[in-house]
Amino acid sequence: MTVTDWVFLAIALVTLFSAYRVVTTHKIMHAALWLGLTFVGVAGIFLLLGADFLAAAQVLVYVGAITTIIIFGIMLSSVEDLRGESFDNVWKRLSSRLTSSRRGIWPLLAAVGLAAAMVIVVSRGQWPASPHAPALDTPRLLGEALFTRFVIPFEAASIVLLVALIGAIALALKEERTE
């Protein structure tokens, strides 16, 4: 194993563990912070795969913006949800989970089945063994492709962003105007 493999292994473990904590931790604020760590880990994986522009965009958009907006959302919404479940006993929590149909065995089966199916398909497939040489300047590569081959999707994405911006402001303002 080379150094890259070890670094990838470490980053992947951190990413997966923090993703696991996002789902399982009690306090929702902690879940938001674990989500930020997951985004940082994904940015590290992007870096190792040679997508340095995407890694920077990931840090800016996800770590900088989406984590912050989620924390704002948590703080502006209800207070009693901050603490989460009140079971201290692990076994009591586990049994209450497994006996309820909403949070019980079926979602677990669905998620594990989906992931297992994907892993099986991936492990059986024929994949190219060695990566191509990494593109040296991904910003130029992406910029040229965005403004030549993908110019119409690019404009559509900007319209999507504009509509989302207006929609979010309109949704958040409506209540105050009627009060």
Binding site: F8, F46, P107, L114, S123
Partner: protein
Amino acid sequence: MTLSLPVVLGVGAIMFGLGVYGALTQTNAIRVLMCIELVLNSVNINLVAFSRFTADQALGQIFAVFVMTVAAAEAAVGLAIILMIARRKTQIDIDQINLLKW
């Protein structure tokens, strides 16, 4: 073996499973949004990995850029909706939100 494709895809698949499990089981609407972000991120990992192992490296990365755009829009609009519901109902438990209008 330096960073083979199935390993990266496996990481993406496990993260996808975690996100799906969270989105199915959580009752807090904001937590569900977070798990959807996990799912979108795992898809991005797969796209970037594929782009590294194909000749045309711009394709997968540009797809990932668009996924990121849609995820940002989704987070903004979703949180605005959640905030509006929280103001009116004083809770965001998705099992209790069962009215289209109130």
